[in-house]
Amino acid sequence: MTDQDPDTAHSRKPNPGTPFPSKPVSDIESTPHPAASETAFGSLKEMHAYMRLAREWDLRFEKMFRTGALSKWYSSVGNEATTVASACAIEAGDSLLTLHRDSGAILRHYLDINALLPGILPQVPAIREPMGGDSKQRFLRLTCQMLGREHGFSSGHERSYHYNLFEEEWGLFHIGMISHLGSMIPVAAGTAFAYQQQGSDRVAINFIGEGATSTGDFHEALNIASVWKLPFILVIENNRWAFSTPTSQQYACDHLADRALGYGIPGVQVDGTDAEAVLSVMQTAVARARAGDGPTLVEAMLGRHRGHSEGDDSLQQVPEQELQQYVEQDPLDLVEKRLIDGGVFSRAWIDEVRERCASLVTNTVDQAMSMPEPDVHQPRSIYAD
């Protein structure tokens, strides 16, 4: 033990982890992104719509938590560039395994946003085809899932993102998390193994936090996936704080992406607040996996915007200056700035997209709240028939 005051020994020091790769959005020069072209702006427009929907989704549930209408919430605010861009890099037929900060990936993978908000996007998707099937129904069921309603994917038995959704006819294979972080890494690699066994070119992506890289399952699964060359992309959403633990107390290497070297696979660190940068990295990783060349480890650098869960006080561990830095690097602000600076969108249209997304979420939540709660007398089987 040291002589340091235990209250200040760790808690209020700036997180000495990896330097943040981007500047505050306000300091970024008002010129188009170097990669900007009509196509690139198409990608940006598409990602922007889903990122905004994800943001409004979280803001709505955060508010419900604060008013006591919801017993638990984990916010995805700040992760939207990484999650939406990653889900833009996969297709129907691929498998998606998510954490509790991945509403952006879920919404992008599940929905055709034009079906929910007609005219919000150009007719032709710039990056990927939307998932087939009934987006409105899926969005309503997703909302019911968050609210524990009977119509949710787990009929009220499982919390928020702890569910699966398979719609084989549309190639939708989404497996949710359990609370034991890192446990789904081998399961995700297992879906990739199924694809390899079946001779398909499908791939699996899995999101984890930087905290889960300390688990045994991270090593075991990534090692087997590398030895077997599984079509698997593991995305670390490194938001620098695991509950209240900073990266300096989580790992001693400079970059988690460097661990890939130890598995004999590519490892890439990317600014996770930059949707275009993430998209580029993920498209390369997915193409590599589809070609049969094995896994990629992606480390997306983010910042913690919220507590571990809403209502805990873990955010108080993040020094104010550091938190301020993350807020100034809001991924949505960056996308919107690029679209405005590029002359693609007006501020008025940006505002309209936000209003329409917020209304959609509010209306769907209202609808879900009026739907039946689970029948408490209904037994639920532990065995498949």
Binding site: S95, F153, S154, H157, E158, H162, Y163, N164, F166, F173, I175, G176, I178, H180, S183, M184, I185, P186, V187, A188, A189, G190, T191, A192, F193, A194, Y195, Q197, Q198, A204, G216, D217, H219, E220, A221, N223, I224, V227, W228, R380, S381, I382, Y383, A384, D385
Partner: protein
Amino acid sequence: MQTDTSTESDDTLYIDAISAALADEMRADPSVVLMGQDIAGHGGAFKITRGFLEEFGDQRVRNTPIAESGTIGIAIGSSMLGIKPVVEMQFADFISCGFNQIVNVAAKMYWRTKHPVPLVIRLPGGGGMGAGAFHSQNIENWFLHTPGLKVVSPAYSGDAYRLLRAAIRDPNPVLYFEHKFLYRRERSPLQTAPVPDRILGESSILRSGTDITTVSWGWMTHRTLEAAEILSQEGIEVEVIDLPVLSPLDHRGIIASVEKTQRAAIIHEATCTGGFGAEIAARICDEAIWSLDAPVRRITYPDSPPPFHKGLEASRIPSPERICSELRQLLDV
């Protein structure tokens, strides 16, 4: 393959029954994939998969790194997308390294999501060979306490064959405990009845009796039958019930038998406290306590790890002599 089940041989070794069940199910269903440490070229620590690599190829017979949790997790994920994985633990004891994947991911998946996990984990377990604390344990109870798993414990070659094939066909995660002591000692005919497509609770009366009911599984069923034979010569008739399937538990047969004999003992090789014997005793007390003329007895391993020295180990495993002695006490003779 060394075993050809197409001809009805009289007797099959327990270990060969397991090999045959794996091979026959792999031939019948191309989605069956084996994973385990040293199972491919080497044929596994007990040679159960010897020759499989040649017949089924390295895509379906997968050597894994030493990573029980990773392997079981991969098996779970693949089972959700059409693969039927059978994972071999080199020794049952090593399953502790994969515990979380089994009890939290596999066992709860169907209840949580309604998505089946058709997974089999084979667990060579049990003592009697002086193999020490980490190659001899009987750990079925770790999993009997977890809803959502099926647990199988065959004592005979026929059950080993039938239940392994049924386990592979079952849409649920099945833990298949095979007893190493029986591998090359138990020899009996394979059954010719059609293989069921799932594991159901089953109990079977191997010997009828009127004086006391015993409940056992795995190796202990053989020792209980030896004890029953000795006691029969003394005029004591033991009704011996074997449980080839521990979960789901078919306790109705046990209750019916106890109502007839009015006495009961549970014999298991696993340690005593919190063991499955306690559960069976509780069921008997719940449903048949007014029929009982004596306390329900558990005849088990002491609450300690398996020692290395063969004599030390033998002193801990319930022997036919000890079973006889304890049953005589219950009968007050």
